[in-house]
């Protein structure tokens, strides 16, 4: 299989994957947001001051919400993994050093770069979503989670930055080669 044929296959697979995953992600995000809104603004205020079998009801409802949203988020993350890979393949095909041709190394760099940025966005959004409910259990819990999130985000962004710098390096090499060839022919 030639490089351009392989690139075309990667491109088609990416488009197919995006078409398949986007509806599932929209449904799961919608359901998670719905559960979060109902819990935060309706059911936690209603349940204030009540206990169920010795457990404070707001904590019990928050726990149920956390489990439900965690299950949905796992589904969303699984689909997002597929979309990121597809997006990376699409970008490599459209924006690559040689348009319409994709090398394995280039594809890998795009994947690492995109994954890092999207993971950080997802984790930050999840933290914002769960922060109030972590506070219900213990205020220190959200502070500890925040520190872990910040450290992890820095590491991930550094990793994706390195991947993008490799892509830029490849672009620059390609450009320099072209200039050199032009200079030789003249």
């Amino acid at each position: 299989m030639s490089v351009s044929e392989k690139a075309r296959e990667v491109y088609l697979e990416a488009v197919r994957e995006i078409r398949d995953s986007v509806p599932k992600i929209i449904i799961n995000i919608g359901i998670a947001v719905l559960i979060w809104v109902f819990t935060k603004y309706i059911f936690v205020p209603i349940s204030l001051g009540y206990q169920f079998m010795g457990i404070p009801l707001p904590q019990l409802i928050s726990l149920v919400m956390l489990v439900a949203v965690a299950v949905l988020v796992l589904g969303i993350i699984r689909e997002i993994f597929d979309i990121i890979d597809a997006l990376a393949a699409y970008s490599a095909y459209e924006l690559g050093a040689r348009k319409g041709e994709v090398t394995d190394e280039e594809l890998q760099n795009y994947k690492v770069g995109f994954r890092g940025i999207i993971y950080v966005i997802i984790i930050v959004l999840l933290f914002l979503l769960f922060k109030d409910f972590l506070d219900v259990f213990h205020p220190v819990l959200s502070a500890i989670v925040l520190i872990v999130v910040v450290l992890w985000s820095v590491l991930m962004l550094l990793r994706s930055g390195r991947a993008f710098s490799r892509i830029v390096e490849e672009y620059a090499n390609e450009w320099a080669d072209k200039l050199e060839e032009r200079a030789k022919s003249e």
Binding site: I31, T39, I42, S47, Y50, L57, I61
Partner: protein, 89 residues
């Protein structure tokens, strides 16, 4: 079941527990008094009955609103699949 009637049933089923929860939220004292009198007439302690009602309303709202959203989004975003199914039947 037709898609429209399915959406309508899920909408009503999610609206009923949600509206009960909203009424309890808005008129807390009165509704707690009513629920307590119901629990007394059923010979169930109010301390168990009220949390039980809240948890049941919570689960019903979540389940039916999720089903509603899933059906609506599927019908909007996957018209091809729907078309295929209707052709087969």
């Amino acid at each position: 079941m037709k898609l429209k009637s399915k959406i309508f049933i899920y909408f009503i089923l999610s609206l009923i527990p949600l509206s009960i929860a909203l009424i309890i939220l808005k008129y807390r004292k009165v509704s707690i008094k009513y629920i307590s009198s119901i629990s007394e007439s059923l010979n169930i302690p109010a301390g168990y009955f009220i949390p039980f009602i809240v948890i049941v309303l919570f689960f019903l709202t979540i389940i039916f609103s999720s089903l509603l959203l899933k059906t609506v989004v599927n019908s909007l975003l996957l018209p091809e699949k729907r078309g295929d199914k209707s052709n087969v039947s």
